[in-house]
């Protein structure tokens, strides 16, 4: 099966109202090409799930400036002042999630788990509106799974079967999000033939990857 797509085909994947997960931490490990495809698609009312909203001009930042996002689920928005301004103006709904909880919620969504029982956030604003459980004398928040229509990811290398390897700190949320979306699209820096990646060093198995953009 041919998983390769062109940037033009990538543009056709996005629709109004979609939930999109984007890999990356401060833009490192975010697919610039797939962000540009979302921009070109002009899809509106996106729910964006991402570690942060990067800077204005990097990572997923441009999606915020381009008024395509109605809700952000992230652990940090402070480095992109546009996100904060739009939040205060009531133009974007922001759900702040502790970074470790964000990773766990995405994993739960992609792993068939009903939620995450985490001590993080107990006794803080994060607890508001959530169920808490006492287990063996300690209190935990029940955090709900996250799932997306599309995950836009960035990897270093892929083979044509979609097996992925990542480079340095650009790995971050990418492998987790590969589990948690109906459609997983990955921009890679280098595409190799099947058999060129050592199955022991593959981080994300190709069975999780639907489309590859070089």
């Amino acid at each position: 099966m041919n998983k390769l797509i062109t940037i033009e085909e990538a543009r056709e994947l996005f629709r109004d109202g979609m939930t999109i997960m984007s890999g990356g931490f401060m833009g490192v490990g975010t697919s610039e090409k797939l962000v540009s495809a979302v921009l070109a698609s002009e899809a509106k009312d996106i729910t964006l799930i991402s570690s942060d909203t990067s800077l204005e001009e990097t990572g997923v930042g441009p999606l915020i400036s381009n008024n395509q996002v109605k809700k952000v689920i992230a652990s940090h928005i402070g480095t992109n002042p546009i996100t904060g301004k739009k939040m205060i103006a009531g133009e974007i709904d922001v759900e702040l999630v502790p970074q470790g909880t964000l990773a766990e919620r995405i994993r739960a969504g992609g792993s068939g788990l009903g939620g995450v029982l985490t001590p993080t956030g107990v006794g803080t604003m994060v607890e508001e509106g959530k169920a808490t459980l006492e287990i063996d004398g300690k209190e935990y928040l029940l955090e709900k799974p996250l799932h997306a229509d599309i995950a836009i990811l960035k990897a270093y290398k892929a083979d044509k079967a979609g097996n992925l390897v990542f480079r340095q700190s650009a790995r971050n949320f990418n492998p987790i999000m590969a589990l948690a979306a109906d459609l997983v699209v990955v921009e890679v820096e280098e595409l190799v033939e099947v058999g060129e990646l050592d199955p022991d060093t593959v981080v994300t198995p190709g069975v999780l990857v639907d489309n590859i953009l070089v």
């Binding site: 940090h76 470790g100 985490t118 001590p119 803080t124 790995r171």
Partner: protein, 221 residues
């Protein structure tokens, strides 16, 4: 370095460095905490974690890599003994108690070990990033901050007024004036920084605290 020239931040970082043990896995917050490695005692080497996905944080070598940044998004390096992983394993290390020490700045700390350092309502909201996980999961949580705000208001309070980062999570508070340990009975003044008088600390600290019996008597006069 001359004692006279030492800034409050340097004094704090130097004292925090003494809390580290050789081989500790340490996560440092942005700002002041990043100064700590400069002051590690001889024979003490620590492994730094960057919560965006690796252990072995070190200086940039040879050339900058676009894919290698620290938790502040700045270019950095990795030691030969380091390892990269995803955000999931990174926070398993943090929440699972594998991080020995975390050092974070604080807006407010109170006598119950509560910490507030992520949001000032009405102003911009940066988000908690990894801080809530760190204070919940690290074996030892050190708050490294100046004793008072820029306006001179105490930051060590009876009760935090700002939204909390963590409830009852702080183990040690290190300021340029003093070192407090948080116990189940409240704050204990464990040490005065060199040249600081008890009176000054009492004046600039809103929280109630007891004085450790080991506090050197010469320090108390």
């Amino acid at each position: 370095m001359s004692e006279i020239m030492k800034s409050a931040k340097e004094t704090i970082a130097e004292r925090v460095a003494k809390e580290m043990r050789n081989g500790d896995l340490v996560n440092l917050g942005i700002g002041l905490p990043t100064l700590v490695p400069n002051y590690l005692p001889d024979g003490v080497d620590v492994i730094l974690q960057s919560e965006n996905g690796f252990v072995g944080l070190g200086p940039v070598k040879d050339e900058v890599s676009k894919d290698l940044v620290n938790a502040g998004g700045q270019p950095t390096g990795i030691r030969p003994s380091g390892a990269f992983f995803d955000s999931l394993l990174s926070f398993s290390l943090i929440r699972g108690g594998h991080v020995d020490v975390t050092v974070l700045g604080g807006l407010e700390v109170d006598q119950n070990g509560n910490l507030a350092n992520w949001i000032i309502p009405g102003k911009m909201v940066p988000g908690m990033g990894g801080a809530m996980d760190l204070v919940t999961g690290a074996k030892k949580v050190i708050v490294a901050m100046e004793h008072c705000s820029k306006k001179g208001a105490p930051k060590i309070l009876k009760e935090c007024k700002l939204p909390l980062t963590g409830k009852g999570v702080v183990d040690l508070i290190v300021t340029e004036l003093a070192i407090f340990r948080v116990t189940i009975d409240g704050l204990v003044l464990e040490e005065l920084q060199e040249g600081v008088e008890l009176e000054t600390v009492m004046e600039k600290t809103e929280a109630s605290f007891t004085i450790d019996s080991n506090l050197k008597t010469e320090q108390l006069n």
